[in-house]
Symmetry: C2
Subunit: 198 residues, 2 copies
């Protein structure tokens, strides 16, 4: 990797941590300057605009989260076990793992839904991937008779993601992991009682 | 009401609609000037700072939502019916009722949790009220034997609020009410099967 590329990567990495906590759209470039120790020109040497940097930082955060989920799925072959692993891995966001500031997709969704069409599309694409991860697990589970035939994969994806995202918001608001653990307990019971085949 | 007070009320009202959609913290004062047709001085004549105006606008939005819930509870005496009425009323936020831009509490929570301690306290106080509304309904329901004795009121409040807030985020992101209606269906089944006494 050339020096220019290394600097670009360093900026993206530091910006991702900063913007996931303080807002991808609302954080000023001065905050990125402070975090990276670079002058404004040193940053804009690598990015055409603050928006371009923010989108790169968002992709970086989403990729960090995707690797975190992929790791949670390792060695889990049963579909129900994969859903339970997803709950656990998502819950760790309340403890700033694998990144501080909560779920990047929700952060950008709330910041952009009414305000910023370009970012809203980015958030939708990332949410699509998360959502499809769940529906695929459910569909595969139905095929393998691990999950009951009448299960609606879209309903499961919606319920899991909604409940976890909302609970993460509450845990971050109150700085108390209890909300996420109550949500996880509820979803575990839902998965075991409504989804898993006897 | 004196003219000065009427102007102040008008600014708060217009700012509430604007900031709930575009961000209580991140929206520039120029957007409020455009919305109200007032000069900067005309606004700061009534508010000490942009932050003060944003907090007043947030209170206004939260009060709009509280009146909306109070109306939904009218003539509902049974505790389970009150919980079901809450689901319906919350779900209407996905259709911009009673105000555009989603749930003001979640909007401020996400904007402020890591970034702005003063606003974070405001969001917590508003969330406390919403949360206590639910735990009180559940406790009263247990007393009146409408809700089963072993119900954990905190778990119910957490699950209802988390799932609805997360689903509202998804419905606003995709501009599609289906996420909120799936969440509402799930919560209805949860209330009927786990909470309501036979």
């Amino acid at each position: 990797m050339r020096k220019g590329e290394r600097t670009r990567e360093m900026i993206i990495e530091k910006a991702a941590e900063l913007l996931n906590r303080y807002g991808y759209l609302s954080s000023p470039i001065s905050a990125v300057m402070q975090e990276t120790g670079l002058e404004k020109g040193g940053i804009y040497n690598h990015f055409g605009s603050k928006e371009e940097l923010a989108i790169e930082a968002f992709h970086h955060s989403v990729n960090t989260m995707k690797r975190h989920f992929a790791k949670a799925f390792e060695n889990k072959r049963n579909s129900v076990d994969r859903l339970l692993a997803f709950l656990e891995a998502f819950g760790e966001l309340a403890e700033n793992r694998p990144l501080p500031g909560g779920c990047p997709i929700m952060n950008v969704a709330i910041e952009s839904d009414d305000a910023h069409p370009v970012f809203c599309i980015e958030a939708r694409q990332a949410m699509d991937e998360l959502y499809n991860t769940i529906t695929k697990i459910v569909s595969r589970g139905i095929e393998k008779s691990e999950i009951s035939q009448q299960t609606d994969a879209d309903a499961v994806a919606t319920i899991l993601i909604s409940t976890l995202e909302g609970a993460l918001m509450m845990s971050k608001l109150y700085k108390d992991p209890v909300y996420v653990s109550r949500a996880t307990d509820h979803l575990k019971r839902y998965i075991e009682s409504s989804l898993r085949t006897a």
